[in-house]
């Protein structure tokens, strides 16, 4: 392969917009360095790393001098990071909710933590519904362009298909697993049994069972399939949601992140994290070890913390990009 051809292939790691501006001269530089023998394997890694960095900047995933990309993509990343937080939170909360369907926790800490997390879940639901309604109403009022409508339609199809598969599957499996809605003791906890069962079934893929193949082997094939398919359905819904948010954001006038709901969301995430940590540190799993804390719960809380930190980072950079502050 000639040096020019090799340089051209390496440059492809950069995004198209970057290549249109710097591609030609960059290829020349690489080819010149290859000719004089100064282009080492380390230089190759440097090009690959910076190319990936440029791609991350292009989709608003990196603090870079690209406020337009930050403004365009941040709403979608904020929606995705919040959904991840809620997914991990639901996995933890639903286990405790199911436990409470069997028996009331002995420890005051577990009961208090459950109240905090349950109220927080209700606030999440309200914020999501009101934010969704705001997006729909504003988009409709501002008469989105045809291009936006097409992107909106694709996003809507993915979102509805993913969500439908996710919800229908979760409802179906919530009826058949022990401790869920089908159990005669359901309704004993602080949330309706069906809600807890749905959340448990929906987040059943986030479980320590993956570390115990012998236990997994006893699961019915349909349930195992559901544990594989439910994250895929959720990812499809998330991709659809991201597409909708980007389309709406691009073709309407959402110029700044709305302060009030981001604050409500941030405070609510902190409240939920507080509840989860309260339960983790409480140490009492009685009665009947129903409220046992395992490694998976610790990992779950770490993932929630990371999702929360990511959301805060995204919103901070989004605001700074509007305020005209250099985000290098």
């Amino acid at each position: 392969m000639t040096y020019e051809r090799r340089a051209q292939r390496l440059t492809r790691v950069y995004p198209r917009a970057w290549r249109e501006r710097y591609g030609d001269e960059f290829e020349c530089l690489l080819a010149d360095q290859m000719h004089d023998g100064t282009f080492t394997i380390l230089q190759t890694f440097n090009v690959l790393a910076n190319g990936c960095g440029a791609r991350a900047s292009a989709v608003g995933l990196r603090s870079a001098h690209n406020p337009r990309a930050l403004q365009r993509w941040s709403p979608a990343w904020a929606a995705i990071s919040t959904t991840l937080f809620i997914a991990f939170g639901s996995a933890l909360w639903s286990q405790l909710t199911i436990g409470w369907q069997w028996a009331r926790p002995t420890a005051l800490g577990t009961r208090g933590a459950m109240w905090v997390m349950s109220l927080s879940m209700a606030v999440f639901l309200l914020v999501i519904l009101s934010a969704g309604a705001t997006f729909v109403v504003r988009t409709w009022r501002q008469r989105a362009s045809l291009l936006a409508r097409r992107a909106l339609a694709i996003g809507a199809v993915l979102f509805v298909a993913g969500l439908l598969a996710f919800v229908v599957g979760a409802i179906h499996f919530s009826q058949h697993w022990p401790g869920t809605h089908g159990h005669p003791w359901s309704g004993r906890g602080i949330v309706p049994g069906g809600v807890g069962a749905f959340a448990w079934s929906a987040t059943s893929s986030i479980t320590a069972y993956w570390m115990h193949p012998t236990a997994l082997a006893h699961f019915p094939a349909t349930e195992l399939t559901w544990m594989f398919l439910s994250p895929l359905a959720l990812i499809t819904a998330l991709v659809g949601l991201g597409t909708i948010v980007v389309a709406v954001r691009q073709h309407t006038h959402f110029t700044t992140p709305s302060v009030w709901w981001t604050r409500v969301l941030g405070a609510n995430m902190m409240a939920f994290l507080f509840g989860a940590l309260w339960w983790l540190m409480d140490g009492d799993s009685s009665p009947r070890n129903l409220f046992h804390r395992g490694l998976i719960d610790v990992i779950d809380v770490i993932m929630m913390t990371l999702s929360f930190a990511w959301s805060v980072d995204i919103l901070g950079r989004w605001r700074r990009s509007h305020a005209g502050v250099a985000t290098i």
């Binding site: 001269e25 230089q43 440029a54």
Partner: protein, 115 residues
């Protein structure tokens, strides 16, 4: 008295690209150069070989901030030129750095002699 420009150290906000950006601006202070000529000149003046990815990341940031600008391409190679804002930013940054160098050397001489 501190000159007004000394409070506006644009390169200070470049994070890990502050070093490459300073080297590039210092090289361009001598006249316009394209990418390959820049890496050769920087190697000569500072003994540092800037990797191509790092060079172009710093170049694009400097260009976006208006500290350098591209001239017409010569055989696909585009030379870059220092702007007035770039010259001011470089002067401010180097002045700040020189102050630090002076203080460091003075303290070393006071406490460590010529060791």
């Amino acid at each position: 008295m501190v000159p007004p420009a000394a409070t506006d150290d644009s390169l200070g906000s470049f994070g890990r690209y502050a070093g490459p950006a300073t080297l590039i601006l210092s090289s361009l202070a001598d006249g316009p150069k394209h990418g390959y000529a820049l890496t050769k000149d920087i190697e000569d003046i500072a003994g540092v070989r800037l990797a191509p990815g790092t060079l172009y990341e710093a170049l694009s940031r400097l260009e976006n901030l208006g500290l350098i600008h591209a001239l017409a391409a010569e055989d696909r190679r585009k030379p870059y030129e220092l702007t007035a804002a770039g010259a001011l930013a470089l002067r401010t940054h180097l002045t700040t750095q020189r102050r630090l160098v002076d203080v460091g050397l003075k303290r070393l001489a006071g406490n460590w002699g010529h060791a």
